[in-house]
Symmetry: C2
Subunit: 416 residues, 2 copies
């Protein structure tokens, strides 16, 4: 009998599950996503800073799975799950499943201040990346055109809220662009006088890393000219800049890299969530009481061997996807399932050209070697031979010339 | 004494003028554009059909001119010219000039039916190209998801209005994608059954070419599966498709490639325009009575040696730009100016992979050789070494694999 498997989300987790399941002829798999492409999110900041084009880091899900005849891909946003009837819903249409894998990921969050989004876009989608690119490049253009020195200074101030890997990578890249790429392009401003401020609520940047690497990253950022403001909490974001309690910073561009929240579909399930809104799953990643419904990736609250929640990283989602696929494929009953174990793949963050920090178990280092490892791993894990080649060529070119190939200010409306 | 030269527009004409003028230290040149990039428009249809990324065919004007210290670039839309005071205006700000070169190009036109734009976008900007790409790719997705066979058929019908080079290139590329690139990607539709209809008002496609090449292009298009409807005039465009007098065609996607109109800035000058709205210039490309104000490219009505208006092609604009730059540089008085002469560089259009038509004086041919010439010339004239390399690599890859690298359906709003 053919069993129907529904996978919601074509990110790292969903795709890993789909690929692992595709080998089985007695399964009929449908992957739903509201986008037609798989996005390599770790390189999204490169699109936001004009280093890569959207197509370099995104591949149609349909193309990735095209050779697998028992897998179909449907472009649709799933907005509800009926756990009792075993169906997923998009609008007025329902699709039945025997097994369900929810892998819808996370979006950025403003901790109850959604009105900040307009002034401080987050970086989770391609559209947001090109919008941030537009704002960064436009800021230099407006500064060049400005006649009032105060306005000029405001345009040349960039505030990045959040000192995790995304914030660190963005701050480093903006500082670098201003000091190298744009150096000779303007007549009325000196881009090297750009002020990039990285605002971190906690006492150090890259809090998930070892303290020695946080220090190293902060030092590297400062070498690039980034001002690192730790223990600084943003209390308001306006069109003019940010407010931090009684202090304030005038900034022409504010970028939000401070928080994420899981996809709302988890809430719609009507099952227990953790304080961050993630679905609390059992050790087999299934929703308690629903052994055929699995939640993986950023959407799931899973604890590691040390009792701490697993981080929102691609290797976590991929391992979870393959683990769940194995349970589904073999049809393992709930009572007989060995619990999921995460094999730690370490973590890394890059700080501009030639600098990065890397942590793998007890191994911790920074500098050029960490950057080379970062480069190699990110190219290796990109899906598609062509993307690997293009990204490698782009990076080689940028490294040699200090140029960035995608410095386009495109409008939001196609009729503009 | 340093003379101020203002160039409005960073297209083929404006850029050619700026480059030719930059050699002179006694000139201070400002290039205005409402975009920050120069766009290689002949390849725009490749972005619209997912073959290239926007950054492959666009380069920041600032980067192109960065080494030329007497040239500055200002991102601003010029909305008025005061011929008497010799200033250009953007909003409330005025910039003075000694010499002015207007090179603002053309946008697409609906012949008084601007309400058609929503249903049938034109192809003149990068935003329009990604919007058309979105619509083409989305049509296949919606067809795959459709349950009603009539709806499915409508989604798989593409109507291209206008049989000039852009219409021919778009129709050929869409037919090709459906028959090769997407062949194995869907489960519920056969993309090869896609219907592409090219609608041409006149009796033949590529009317500017010799009749033998029109016939050849039509035959090549039909080989690719395109239905060529000549002598068919669109009388209405709706959300459902197009109406042609008493006939109608249900189409999920309609693309407008039927007409252009010059930039409105020409009208604001208050000088005589031709019936198409282009500024009527003298044989020295200056506005009659204003020897220091030149209009070039698609915005100018210039007659060739045969008395016919020069076509809206890149070589025309570039030659005009260099001619005008020479007059300005040498400060030639109006009475002593030798008239502009266009050196015919021929014309070409491509019809999918391995097929093109080419006309150069008495030389006329089609097929693989014309396509190879098209390829070589388009790569050669792309600005920037990196773009040439990327486009060449992309095309080689597409040629070998039949794949297209930029199949992304991105949303219009970054908050989506």
């Amino acid at each position: 009998m053919v069993r129907k498997v529904v996978i919601v989300g074509g990110g790292f987790g969903g795709l890993a599950a789909a690929k692992a399941l595709a080998r089985n002829a007695d399964l009929q798999i449908t992957v739903f996503d509201r986008r037609n492409y798989h996005l390599f999110q770790p390189l999204l900041y490169q699109v936001a800073t004009a280093g890569l084009s959207p197509a370099d880091i995104a591949v149609p899900i349909r193309a990735i799975l095209s050779g697998k005849s028992n897998v179909e891909v449907t472009l649709a946003e799933i907005d509800g799950v009926d756990l009792a009837a075993k169906t997923v819903r998009s609008g007025t249409r329902n699709w039945p499943f025997d097994s369900l894998v929810l892998a819808c990921g996370a979006r950025h969050a403003y901790f109850g201040h959604d009105e900040w989004e307009e002034h401080a876009p987050g970086l989770k989608t391609l559209e947001q990346a090109t919008e941030i690119r537009r704002r960064i490049l436009l800021a230099f253009e407006l500064a060049e055109r400005a006649t009032d020195p105060e306005e000029r200074k405001r345009y040349l101030t960039f505030a990045i809220v959040g000192g995790g890997p995304t914030g660190v990578e963005l701050a480093g890249a903006i500082a670098e662009i201003s000091r190298t790429t744009l150096e000779k392009d303007f007549r009325h401003i000196d881009p090297a006088r750009t002020r990039v401020v990285l605002i971190q609520g906690g006492p150090r940047v890259l809090e998930a890393f070892d303290e020695s690497l946080s220090r190293r990253a902060a030092r590297d950022l400062e070498t690039l000219g980034v001002q690192v403001w730790t223990s600084s909490r943003v209390t308001e974001v306006t069109a003019d800049g940010v407010r931090l309690g009684s202090e304030s910073l005038r900034a022409g561009t504010v970028i939000w890299a401070a928080g994420v929240q899981p996809s709302p579909i988890g809430r719609a399930l009507g099952v227990p969530l953790d304080s961050a809104g993630r679905v609390v799953v059992g050790p087999d990643l299934a929703v308690p009481g629903h052994p055929d419904v699995f939640v993986i990736g950023d959407q799931a609250a899973v604890r590691g061997a040390d009792g701490k929640p697993l981080p929102g990283l691609a290797p976590v989602a991929m391992q979870e996807g393959r683990y769940v696929a194995d349970l589904v494929r073999r049809g393992v009953p709930a009572a007989e399932r060995a619990p999921f174990r995460y094999l730690d793949k370490g973590q890394m963050a890059t700080i501009g050209r030639s600098r990065a920090v890397l942590e793998f178990g007890a191994l911790r280092f920074g500098g050029f070697l960490a950057w080379a490892a970062w480069l190699f791993i990110h190219i290796f894990y990109l899906i598609g031979f062509k993307n690997r080649l293009t990204v490698f060529a782009n990076w080689t070119w940028s490294y040699l010339t200090f140029k960035r190939g995608a410095r386009l200010i495109t409008e939001r409306d196609w009729r503009a």
